[in-house]
């Protein structure tokens, strides 16, 4: 019996996925409440490509090194830029930023603190403010 398939574990897998969805939904609801977030930030639903590369370019372009590339879903090399060894459980990517140098990484994290971490927040008019 020790070698038999553990059905409860498979339920746990499904529960894990379910929990992740619940977590996302809760995060979304908390953000919807809007408490604690500056007014220039608004929440949005999960729509791939909602944050455009043009938008990133506009808000961040001048502060990144000129070897940085910004790749949106409509760009031809987007698929290559997000390719993974396994597609199982892959993250959703709206925009790829390939920093030209190490300092750019910090700039990106500061400019898009929540999007970098996958929380669904959109900056409508970036004002150089660091969100904590």
């Amino acid at each position: 019996m020790a070698y038999s398939w553990n059905w409860s574990r498979r339920k746990n897998i499904k529960r894990g996925v379910f929990n992740a969805l619940v977590f996302c939904a809760l995060t979304f609801l908390i953000l919807m409440a809007g408490s604690g977030f500056p007014s220039h930030i608004r929440t949005f639903s999960i729509t791939p490509g909602r944050l455009s590369s043009a938008q990133v370019q506009r808000e961040l372009g001048s502060r990144l090194s000129n070897t940085t590339t910004i790749i949106g879903p409509t760009t031809s090399n987007f698929v290559d830029a997000i390719a993974r060894w396994s597609d199982f459980g892959r993250p959703k990517v709206q925009v790829v930023i390939a920093p030209g140098n190490e300092a750019d990484v910090s700039t990106i994290v500061c400019a898009f603190p929540t999007l970098t971490y996958g929380i669904l927040v959109e900056l409508t008019s970036f004002q150089g403010q660091i969100l904590r």
Partner: protein, 406 residues
Amino acid sequence: MAYNRGYAFTNTFGSFNGIQINLVNLNSIMIQLDGKSAWFGGGTYTGQVANYLWDRGFITTTASAQCVSLLGTGLGGGYGDQQGAYGMVSDNFLQLNVVLADGSTICVNSTSHEDLFWGLKGAGHNFGIVTSAEMNIYPREAEFWYYHNYIWRGDKLVDIFNAINKLTADGSVPLNMAVNYGTFMMNTTISTEEPIILWTFLYSGPAEEARPYFVDFDAIESAWDDSGELSYVDIPSARFNSVNDPLCQKAGVDKLVTTAGLQVYNLTTEQEIWNRFKERVASNPDLAASAFIVHEGYSNQAVLEHNPDDSAYPFRDDYHLMMFQGILEPNSILKDEMWEWAWEVKDMWNAGQPGRFPDSYVNYANGFEGPEEWYGNVPWRLERLRGLKAKYDPNNRFRFFNPIVD
């Protein structure tokens, strides 16, 4: 989310939706003047690093597969072909530049943020984005490596695992027997009815010196074998993990993976795993054709010389690294059956070593296992990691790769 080569596969980042910071441009390698260390950008990868250093007379610790990230591997500990002589990838970290969740940049080494330095060596994906790191490098020594690949039929299984257990007894793998790597898989040119056992050996030195270690294996009648001496940088193609090999390809497929860490092979367990593979060849040939049951082993002398408490990597006493890999098209109807098989094999490996808690090398974990299985089922390790999390990433932004804190 930071991305370098895209070989991480845990389910835990499935909930991410946002910006990918692609480190591809941070690909510089700078050998320091004293020739004892080099700086590596966050976008460097194994094959690039190995070739660059070799051409200049050096080597360092990397993952084994040529396609994978150098630093991503190291942040999870970092098994590799050079670990017997030089330790794991993370054992060779000297300092790392890290961008934290608040956008600040810190330098982490044994005197600056030394608490985080401990955490980055084994649980490092949890704290920030590593943009570059300085690592030890070493003068290149063995010009040629000896490789020997065998394909054995299943009726030789007991002899094979007895010989491997003898070679690797109590973790005392001979220093230069760098890699031994065995896979149960289908190869229809050999048999359409049962899996073959493919075993790859790499010895860091000439054939003449290696020969005594192969007496036991040469004595087991093989269905096919191939051996020879190659330059270190040409070895990957002989062991099927160069950037051009199928192992490294990103083909838009799902990899269903389970993993385990072992000290010794349980012959009853391995026989049963092989038998159940053979049963599936008859009952579900499509499923069987898509499965690879991998037994990785590396020389480990330098790994064991490190005090295990000195880094967050918790499993230095695992001498063998197991991986079940099922490769399926997205939305394959075989998915449930493949998961069932994957967990079955993992459970068998662990049931075959009673008294040991299941371990999952964090770079091979599928995300369903949990922190005790990734970071060590030892309270002080998890407490220490949670403390680092509270200090360096209090809002738990970096929680998408097998997270310490959910």
